[in-house]
Subunit: 318 residues, 2 copies
């Protein structure tokens, strides 16, 4: 921890040592390094003063200098150290270019199954060496804490903002009504008509609670939930089978799936706002910034909310 004799040794000393050892002459080493012979002479002298022993034998006259045994030993270590520094420089260079680096992103189911593959795919395409790690959770409260603790670089979040977390809204995710295909209505679906039909929905996570409270506020009568699952595909399949209807975020369904009918609810339910969050004040890595940029691009088509065409374009454009 103290480096004893090397305490006053600087990188330039090691560089000079190497240059002189390779060139055989203070003057040529100086030229290579962009110094004068005098400077190199003083640098080596300083190195030897710090070590308390010479690193070169100067035969005098025009003969080249030669490493002492101590010089050889030190040179080996110097090459090692300088090699490490080069490696560090290269690593930093790749990092700031966004070519490498760790990136931990928090996500939740509907994002994971819809836009995330597109984003990750594009990022991996332009930077194959980035170490992307995903953590999925449907607990709204899990991510802000993880962000603040530094466990996550970025996280997809919904609505609320938390102290110490900055959020950029990516797009609005409206709720849609899914019914069997036979149920042909134009565009809007009066939510009042849901009363008396069987309903398929999610487990009572925060998202589902949001849906049910939203409906309760605008609907007369009780809603009849006949099945709950967190599997998006199962929900759609059960609707297709005629078991009932569903109210889900648009992101959760494949808008090109013609085996079911998709409608905008009437009156409309306030949409969820999907955002990208990070720890406030934290400098994001270049990879993280690039991820955010790609996410922004990928979500742009989704921002013109409501229309089915927009959503379809966004999700399939990979």
């Amino acid at each position: 921890m103290v480096m004893s004799r090397l305490r006053d040794v600087e990188i330039k000393h090691l560089v000079a040592l190497r240059a002189v050892a390779e060139e055989g002459t203070f003057g040529r080493a100086a030229t290579r390094l962009g110094y004068t012979q005098s400077a190199v002479s003083q640098q080596i002298a300083g190195l030897e003063r710090a070590l308390g022993a010479p690193v070169f034998d100067r035969p005098g006259g025009p003969r080249p200098v030669e490493l002492t045994p101590l010089g050889s030993l030190l040179l080996e270590h110097a090459n090692d150290v300088l090699g490490r520094l080069d490696a560090a420089g290269a690593a930093v260079e790749r990092f700031v270019r966004g070519e490498t680096g760790p990136l931990v992103v928090g996500t939740f189911q509907s994002v994971t199954t819809s836009i995330l593959p597109t984003i990750v795919g594009r990022l991996r395409e332009e930077s194959p060496d980035v170490d992307i790690r995903l953590r999925e959770s449907n607990d709204k409260e899990a991510f802000p804490g993880a962000l603040v603790r530094g466990e996550l670089d970025l996280a997809f979040t919904l609505d609320d903002d938390w102290p110490g977390v900055e959020t950029e809204v990516l797009f609005e995710d409206p709720f849609v009504v899914v019914t069997p295909r036979s149920d042909l209505r134009a565009g809007c679906f009066p939510v009042q008509d849901l009363v008396g039909r069987g309903l398929v929905g999610y487990q009572l996570t925060s998202c589902q609670r949001e849906i049910e409270e939203g409906l309760r506020r605008v609907v007369d009568g009780d809603l009849d939930w006949v099945f709950r699952t967190d599997d998006n595909l199962a929900v759609v399949a059960l609707v297709r089978s005629g078991l009932g209807a569903a109210v889900v975020p648009r992101l959760a369904v494949d808008v090109d799936d013609d085996s079911v009918a998709i409608h905008d609810p009437e009156p409309p339910i306030p949409p969820r706002r999907v955002g990208l969050s990070w720890k406030a004040g934290r400098t994001l890595s270049p990879v993280a910034l690039r991820f955010a940029e790609i996410a922004r691009e990928a979500c742009r088509p989704l921002q013109l909310s409501g229309t089915r065409a927009g959503a379809a374009a966004a999700v399939t454009t990979a």
Copy 2:
């Protein structure tokens, strides 16, 4: 080779980075490093200027600073580099103390079988980690070249001095006459008496040539060499068996061996001077200096030449 962005980064920057990261505060890091808070602030600022990006997020107020992703990356490499520097410092320390280091010594047979084990033994005893390598050659001309080329640190040599090689005489190795034990004479042995007896000797290496020329100059008549071998033990064994007499360097025989008789030749043959040589002007490693010192001590009893007692004392005192 250029370290790109790390070109202006100095060791102190990495030390400061580590200290701040571990302390969480510029001020405490400054205290630990023996600087003022201002200095550390400027050092980190300089580091960030060199990198072109911040390494710490300063939340402001009394909250501790935190590494940015770039800072984390750099810190990993910094720990690596600083660890290497520590290792280098430790290695240098051990080296200058003479505890480690490579040591290549040139030797020849009679030294190898007599005083060398003593010297090597003592050195290994006080410095078990020294990497001692021996190279044996009976060619007188081999070692000076190897010394000058830097292939050897030290070499035992005989007599002549070579350009570019410095030599310190360790002791004189007189020639002795070896005869069967039955041949009881007091002290001196007239070499003239060798004529007409069978003689055992070495192959015609430079040493043996020296012996034979020396004898020819003082002896009337031809000498009869009945057997030649380079094996010291064989020479003595053949003398013991009565095959003949031998003239050998005293170092080549065990002076305590009572199965043969050992005499000083009359007239005396000029003794060989055994020396320790090294490349002129070359700084010797601490291990090499210690080796030379031990060799000097070990050979001191041999310097009082001629007497059997002196030689015996030197060789057996390990």
